[in-house]
């Protein structure tokens, strides 16, 4: 019997396994972002937001919705993808996909595809939760879905890399805690970078997260800190870098094969 050129059943097996793990803890997986988002709206929306003026003509509560979605999308993408590949490495069960007739691309597709599904699901739950507190209007829904997919794919690939790189569960937390969360908070999730004085405004432009949040906010309200085209290009650039690193990991076997 000839082995198939594309092992779709193998990809599906990994995807379904990962989703099953997520579904086992679905209530905690979804309750956490719902509660966190609600708290953001209680604090930023009601307590502080009511004292703040509109940003670019958008009420402050509505303004922060895309940033909140991005914040969760980054964290969920990195967490799910890094945990998804780190767990079999930790348990030793990674021998199964490595010894199966699966190409590196198919292995990544299974793990990253499942992580993307989970991360996008959480982002959409946040959108629904936010809609209970503030009016949310999506001006460019197709672009919004496109940005969600692109950013989720990029950060899930990034998470996959972190999951391969990490030698233990502590290291899994380092990148999201020390790099991604600070960059997100400083990347215009809760404010427009136009309100920053120089030189901070220029310095902020070196933060890649600015482009992701700005582009995503544009899909909602048509306003952006930087041009949506630049945002798209920056996101695509980051995606290509992550793809290159993942390809290198499989070519060299870095921390996967000795």
């Amino acid at each position: 019997m000839t082995a198939p050129r594309f092992n779709r059943r193998g990809v599906w097996a990994i995807y379904r396994f990962e989703m099953h793990r997520f579904l086992r803890t679905i209530w905690t997986g979804l309750a956490t972002p719902v509660i966190t988002t609600s708290l953001y709206f209680v604090v930023f929306g009601s307590a502080i937001g009511s004292r703040m003026s509109n940003v670019g003509g958008i009420p402050y509560g509505s303004f922060i919705v895309p940033g909140l979605m991005m914040l969760s999308l980054f964290n969920e993408s990195i967490f799910n993808a890094s945990f998804g590949i780190h767990m079999p490495r930790f348990l030793g069960t990674i021998y199964e996909p490595l010894s199966a007739p699966l190409s590196p691309f198919e292995i990544v597709l299974g793990y990253v595809g499942a992580a993307m599904t989970k991360a996008i699901g959480v982002a959409l739950v946040i959108l629904a939760t936010a809609n209970l507190f503030v009016p949310v209007h999506v001006l460019h829904p197709v672009w919004m879905i496109g940005f969600l997919l692109l950013v989720a794919a990029t950060f899930c690939l990034f998470g996959f890399i972190v999951g391969i790189w990490a030698k233990g569960f502590e290291q899994l937390q380092i990148i999201p805690m020390l790099i991604v969360t600070p960059l997100t908070f400083l990347g215009g999730a809760f404010y427009s970078i136009h309100i920053l004085p120089e030189p901070w405004r220029t310095i902020t432009l070196f933060n890649p997260v600015v482009y992701l949040i700005s582009g995503f906010r544009w899909t909602f309200y048509g306003i952006a800190d930087v041009s949506p085209g630049v945002s798209l290009a920056a996101t695509a650039g980051f995606l290509i870098v992550c793809l290159g690193v993942v390809a290198w990991i499989f070519r060299t076997g870095y921390r996967l094969k000795s």
Partner: protein, 313 residues
């Protein structure tokens, strides 16, 4: 040997840390045989298996499985292989049925509940199909690893130390299972450092030491060729030295002079035993017990390993 089902040529592995795990190994495995790869811990057995299965990258050499190169035609090669690793790597919270179905899916095979049911029944796991892996005993987990490896109907099964750390009863069950698999047409390659296991099951034996395959031989031929028989006489009174009258038999004195040991060729027409016994009687040497001993594969293995450079590595 007809076309080998696994063909290994010039296989070497040098790990990044500088450890040379395999040195220019050549090996052919015949279809349908049970091949036991013997060697002390750290000899390179697991590295060899892991290279064939795609988990470790070889530094040099080639491996083909059923004519398919494991690198350039890895899908076809891996499709034919089932692997039972030494460690019990499992997802503790997964149910038995789900984990076996997952393994089959990874190999791109369509769902076949009837086949999986057969495998689980043969391995006495059917009643546990809904149980989570963490609820299984050690023996059940080991059988589950075999079920996972068999889930995609492989023609070649690699068993890496299948009975390491299991009790005697389970070990015997495992041996029966391996024979049953071979009878169903599966080629079995197992590694072990339990010589008894190889002696019990294998058709052919390979001995690996410090990354070098120092011997590959039919088990019975090996035992015939390198095995020896001994007559052991336990003396009523210890003696200080072998009497000169016994010089022509080249007997040895053991256990502080309490045992006389005569090594002979069991298949020779004349073993020399009757004349030796007469001479012992003539010399007035009294013995209180008499026994014969045939060397086991273990004796041969220990002798081989020590001959080639002193002890297990």
């Amino acid at each position: 040997m007809s076309a080998p089902v696994v063909s290994i040529r010039g296989l070497s592995k040098l790990y990044a840390g500088g450890h040379e795990a395999l040195k220019d190994v050549d090996l052919d495995i015949a279809r349908g045989e049970i091949f036991a790869l013997l060697g002390p811990n750290g000899a390179g057995k697991t590295t060899l298996i892991n290279i064939v299965c795609g988990i470790v990258t070889a530094s040099a050499g080639t491996v083909s499985v059923d004519g398919h190169d494991i690198v350039t035609d890895y899908r076809a090669a891996r499709d034919r292989i089932g692997l039972v690793p030494q460690e019990l790597h499992t997802d503790a919270f997964e149910p038995v049925w789900a984990t076996v179905a997952f393994s089959r899916g990874l190999f791109g095979k369509p769902a076949n509940p009837a086949y999986l049911e057969k495998v689980l029944k043969e391995l006495s796991l059917w009643d546990k199909r809904k149980a989570k892996i963490l609820e299984l005993s050690g023996g059940m987990k080991r059988r589950l690893m075999i079920a996972k490896a068999l889930s995609h109907e492989p023609g070649i099964l690699f068993l890496d130390e299948p009975t390491a750390g299991v009790d005697v009863e389970l070990r015997r069950d495992m041996w029966a299972l391996v024979r049953q698999l071979r009878d169903s047409g599966v080629t079995i390659i197992l590694t072990t450092h339990y010589i008894e296991e190889a002696e019990e099951m294998a058709d052919r034996v390979g001995v690996i030491r410090k990354g070098e395959l120092i011997l590959v031989e039919d088990k019975h031929a090996l035992m015939e060729k390198l095995g020896k028989k001994q007559l052991i006489l336990t003396l009523a009174e210890p003696i200080a030295a072998v009497p000169e009258g016994l010089a022509e038999w080249e007997v040895e004195l053991r256990d502080g002079g309490a045992e006389l040991v005569y090594t002979f060729d069991g298949k020779a027409e004349r073993t020399g035993i009757p004349s030796l016994m007469r001479r012992i009687s003539d010399l007035g040497i009294v013995f209180k017990d008499l026994a014969t001993h045939q060397s086991s594969l273990e004796d041969i293995f220990v002798s081989l390993v020590s001959e080639r450079g002193g002890g297990a590595g």
